[in-house]
Symmetry: C3
């Protein structure tokens, strides 16, 4: 009896399926914009993750493996990882190039050849990238009193992972590879909560501490030795919907000069906004105008309102066993019980 | 000798283990609340991830595969994914239903049958969901000047992933499937930093940009064409501990009407709070009262305090090679060196 | 012809590779600080993930498996997971210990033995940890009106995952195991957006709701029954670069006493800052001074500026079909159209 019911329901699926499938097919054929049939595949998360992993092994040899990398094997291992990275990249870049040809209804002539050239240019950029990333590792060690060793920074710091991936993606962005750069930075974003657009131009010795919630927009320019904390947004000013198209290729995000520090949860907006060299921006600020060099900018301490919570009577309070180490000064604005 | 020591330590584990295991067992048997022995398994992260992946292939055919999806195969492929999704869902919904029966000490009569019906209702909801998600893709393209193509939005935008999963989970939430909806949105939360409760009711053409830190509570209602940025909270007002039970089924989160834009890191709280249609809420605001339609609300620019940082002498500053493009106006509150 | 071109490009890779590899090798040998050749491997993400998964199965038996855990098998299963956890830990702790010896150029005498002892001490800490985590589960259920069941809290609440991993990592931190503790909390950070340093000391019944963006620094002390919301930072005051070294082992982060609630996006900074027992800190606040016990501290409501957005004429507004449930009071600072 129960068997029958179950098979009834199974029959229901086969009854229901043709209609549901047909409705999806019809709906797909109506939305031309994201028709994706007969199309070259798009870089999958796994492929992107694999390429990033190979690149990290080349940039920090010996760090991302569970077996010992002996000096005597170094050359062999680097060549092996480099070949794997090259092959993976060629495949993905060809995919995205062919895909763009299809999308823009162009005839695809030399996608394969130019993709191979781009993959090669990417490989050739690695030694320089390695040197820039070394400055980022030093910057983390110098900027964070909780950092115990370079190894810890390289293997566990989300900020270093995010900037590593962004620097890799930026090379592809400059080579005008479509889709792949953004897929790479989005992969890092999903791991770290740090969202750096592949287009952003970022100097040496860059350090992001903690990092969750950091957003750095496409046309941001950042100098050398800049330090950011969690929740910092370097973004665009709001614009009316009708202006979005007009701003698509303009500078919309701020410029941060050398040696600037920006504390947590501060928002800096606008393509004309420049934070001058060696300036420090306090936490929680909202800045839409330029700041001259050598300036400290802090939010005027917002007024806090203190009141007794009345959760306990005063006599009970004094019985409070837990040692209370209150050392604060009375706030001008508030009074406490 | 060294061998001996090591085996001593190994013997230590076997000496220590019985006590440790016994203490865990005793402690488990005392906490009835999360006794989970002899119990039906709970949806595992992998099972949840698999169901979401199948559903995405149905909702965006051709996007989430590394091989070409040919038009001629479309029907076959959709049916294959649909059957897999149905089977995975039936299994997980039965698990959660039986689990709830056990937890509530009910006799489990028709869990299996009603679970199959719910899985079927979910499948039937997919074509409509697909159409709603198409409006979300358009909204991202229109709302973000950095968006390069629909493909990029579909494959790389965390906001689209989060709302896709939430819309799927919301169908199951309305069908009163326990646990699974929340497990699904939490999966998306872990990837995107966007935490939308499966209970939230959200209109068409919804766009979240960047998204890290966004929180949308269970009883939130959102109209059509609403746009949010990173760090926006649509939450509940604080309540004393003793009130938590009383509020469990009440509307505790705000209502956002059509065409509203809410900029980054703004917090809007309370079940009676309504943001009227076509209003714009600036960034960093804290709102616990309703806002009428067609209104712009901005935080009064908080006072900033500027001071010379003294990190360099003025004469050195003028030697500063880096071009400084300062265009800001002098802030009434501050003075810079 | 096309074949030829492709093989040309392939030859290009083999032409280019020797130079690129050589440059990387040279650059590696110059940066002694993160030379990582011939070195013991560092805990890989997978190994860390595996250890955490085994520990969760021991701490919440029956929850993290897709098959039924029968009471009759409980002892057997716990022993199996415990042995696996012990072996995984021993391996990783030996790696990190040998690695530190190498890094500090010490002769490695008893790394293996002391690592086994530490792994054993970790195993022995599990029953107590289980009891503390039980109080965290209750705290989540009591603190969140959206929580449906203990099972949902245990399987889907990111805050519980983050504190589980931190409590595990804290045991290893106290045992002075290098690297592994931070790798563990960073794993949890990547899943949850919650960044708790393994050094933080945290009492019972701790609950973090939503959690994305939470940062809790190394020397933070937190009492019992404390509740935090998303975006809360318990951090260090900013310090000049030259002071970083001096502060490396000092208390730099605040003390939060028993029964404190801290609402979303509030920042509390400084090693001398104490938030007294039973106090409540409102959202969005920025606190660098102590707060006495039994106090409510709220940000003075910042002034909001209201203006008509002019997106629609007033007459059109009245035609607005969507019911508008405006109940707000007129804000003293603003006027609406």
């Amino acid at each position: 009896m129960k068997e029958n019911k179950v098979s009834d329901k199974r029959r229901d699926l086969s009854k229901v399926m043709p209609t549901v499938v047909q409705r999806i097919i019809t709906s797909c054929s109506m939305e031309k914009c994201f028709q994706h049939l007969d199309a070259t595949p798009i870089p999958a998360r796994d492929a992107v993750a694999g390429a990033i992993q190979h690149a990290r092994r080349l940039l920090f040899p010996g760090y991302f493996t569970q077996s010992v990398l002996a000096s005597s094997n170094l050359e062999y291992c680097l060549k092996k990882d480099m070949t794997a990275l090259y092959n993976a990249l060629v495949k993905q870049i060809i995919f995205t190039a062919q895909h763009d040809c299809m999308r823009l209804e162009q005839f695809c002539v030399q996608c394969e050849e130019s993709s191979r050239t781009k993959a090669l240019q990417f490989i050739q950029a690695l030694p320089n990238l390695r040197e820039v990333l070394a400055t980022d590792v030093y910057a983390a060690m110098e900027g964070d009193p909780a950092a115990k060793s370079f190894d810890e920074v390289i293997t566990s710091y989300p900020g270093l992972f995010a900037i590593t991936v962004q620097r890799l993606a930026h090379v592809l962005y400059k080579l005008k590879v479509p889709q792949l750069p953004r897929a790479m930075t989005e992969y890092a974003h999903s791991f770290t909560g740090i969202d750096i657009h592949p287009g952003a131009r970022i100097g040496n010795s860059f350090f992001i501490d903690h990092g969750t919630g950091v957003v750095i927009g496409e046309t941001t320019e950042i100098g050398h030795r800049v330090r950011l904390y969690q929740g910092v947004t370097l973004g665009a000013l709001s614009m009316p919907k009708e202006a979005v198209e007009r701003f698509r290729d303009k500078k919309r995000h701020p410029t941060i000069e050398d040696d600037v520090i920006i504390y947590s949860n501060t928002t800096i907006l606008g393509g004309d906004t420049v934070i001058g060299a060696r300036s420090t921006i306090g936490g929680n600020a909202w800045i839409t105008e330029s700041v001259p060099p050598d300036t400290k900018v802090y939010l005027k301490k917002p007024e806090l309102i203190y009141s007794a919570s009345g959760r306990r009577s005063p006599s009970e309070k004094h019985k409070n066993k837990m040692m209370f180490r209150f050392k604060g000064k009375r706030n001008a604005a508030g009074s406490y019980s």
